[in-house]
Amino acid sequence: MATKMLQRYNERERLNHWMVVLLFALAALSGLAFFHPSLYFLSNLLGGGVWARILHPFLGVAVALSFLGLFLRLWKDNAVTAQDKLWAEHMGDMMRGDKSAMPPVGKYNYGQKMVFWITASSLLVLMLTGLVFWSPWFAPYFGIALQRVAVLLHSVAAVALVVGIIVHVYAAIWVKGTMRAMTRGTVTESWAKANHPLWHQEMHKRS
């Protein structure tokens, strides 16, 4: 197997990513427990309702802070460009299995960029609104009317984030050869050529 490998994520990026994953899983599961009675059982994963209530906000802050590390590294690569529009127009074809009309993409395609920005913006909303009703530390400093707005926005942002992450995970499962970018740091030459041709070119120019 003389398949050539390209470095997509370095060690720090990978560890940062997986730290976000673990913290997000705990924060999301405990948060969902409070959102719907049918999901309350999830609070047991953190030691029951009271422990889930105590830990959830700390986990949330930890998710936001650890994501900040990824954000600072990756936001430039996720800036939306003019070519992304064309990609978005042909997204339907791609989903039906026809990639012929897809324009060449760089390190990230438009879908990946959207997941990135949904994650970043919903984490920001979650963090800000969460502070408003963090009981018992901060909630007493805010009025009840504001807290009502905050809990609603917190839920909306949380659902947007969870759906975004479901898309993120599915995309990694769907496009074979992707997962190793985050587990091993490298992807195959042909994976890069097929899925991110402009990034592939760039990598060769650099070396």
């Binding site: 197997m1 398949t3 427990a33 409070f34 959102f35 719907h36 009675p37 049918s38 309350y40 609070s43 309702g49 009271v50 889930a52 209530r53 989903m95 039906r96 299995g97 990639k99 009703f133 009981s135 018992p136 909630a139 009840i144 009317a145 807290q147 009502r148 707005v149 809990v151 609603l152 839920s155 909306v156 659902v159 969870v162 759906v163 479901i166 898309v167 599915y170 499962i173 769907w174 496009v175 074979k176 050869g177 195959t188 030459e189 042909s190 994976w191 050529k193 097929a194 899925n195």
Partner: protein
């Protein structure tokens, strides 16, 4: 309060199946607070702290009679004093005993995420089952009357129980028992509505032409009602004019829940079936190169 096994539970927080429903009939109860008979002696506050074994911290004098100055986790009822001029030049000193209204449609119960931490008993009493409380403070956001308080000692929510423990064994609430002027009445909801209307009529005959019963329908009526001298302006004594559960809370705890579940479960199912229909994006050239 802990649960009262002798009574059915009409509604239970964060619970999607019916609660206990087998018993035949329990009368709906209500407390009626007659503003015009209250002398502000605070015996009800003392009775409440005595019966419920609560002792609040010694507070500070805020320049008015209100003491403590607000409801707390240890003060489930407080007298509030208002100097108002309903008509210009006509000063009135109004006194209201504040506490949980025991709404028929309780916003606290609707907001609570902990199964069984808030229940509405068959007799209409809305009670916090503190052993199930997780201390999130959602009840505070749900309440249209700003009543629940989270204790700094144990991070659990507390409020007036309407002496569910006393009422459950045929006694009146401690505040009712104690009131020296008969300003606090207790009985079936129907009787208290009838008596309240009668008192309002008497007050109207004596010159309080806007006197009336405060039993706000925006929350389905309440099991704590007031006879107000100025029922056209409940805000004179710090009561909301037309209370209801905030639309934000209704959206959050109503439509948002099934929509969000559908969105999240839908995303997972869509991915699953998409994979089964279209199949993965595979790196076919690799196989050739590798071969």
């Amino acid at each position: 309060m802990a649960s009262m096994q002798s009574q059915d539970v009409l509604a239970r927080s964060a619970t999607t199946t019916p609660s206990t429903q087998v018993r035949s009939a329990v009368a709906q109860v209500a407390k009626l607070i007659d503003e015009s008979k209250c002398i502000g002696c605070k015996a009800c506050q003392v009775a409440c702290m005595t019966w419920n074994d609560l002792r609040d911290d010694v507070g500070t004098n805020t320049g008015v009679y209100d003491n403590p100055s607000d409801l707390t986790a240890n003060s489930w009822t407080v007298m509030r004093f208002y100097e108002v001029e309903p008509k210009p030049g006509n000063l009135e000193w109004l006194i209201r005993k504040d506490g949980c209204m025991h709404c028929d449609d309780p916003g606290c119960l609707k907001s609570c995420p902990a199964p069984g931490a808030i229940v509405k008993h068959a007799n209409g009493i809305v009670d916090f089952q503190s052993e199930h409380c997780i201390g999130c403070g959602y009840c505070v956001k749900g309440c249209p009357f700003n009543v629940p308080r989270i204790s700094a000692a144990d991070s659990k929510a507390y409020k007036c129980t309407l002496c569910a423990d006393r009422v459950g064994v045929g006694l009146e609430p401690a505040c009712v028992k104690t009131c020296p002027t008969g300003a606090i009445g207790f009985g079936t909801k129907d009787d208290m509505v009838a008596y309240g209307e009668k008192r309002a009529t008497e007050l109207r005959d004596r010159g309080f032409d806007k006197a009336g019963l405060y039993n706000p329908q925006g929350v389905g009526g309440t099991h704590v009602m007031y006879v107000l001298k100025h029922a056209d302006q409940p805000d004179l004594v710090g009561l909301p004019n037309d209370p209801s559960i905030s639309p934000l809370v209704s959206l959050w705890k109503g439509l948002a829940k099934p929509l969000a579940l559908a969105a999240m479960a839908g995303a997972v199912l869509a991915g699953f079936f998409h994979y089964m229909k279209v199949g993965p994006v595979e790196d076919k050239s690799d196989e050739k190169e590798g071969a």
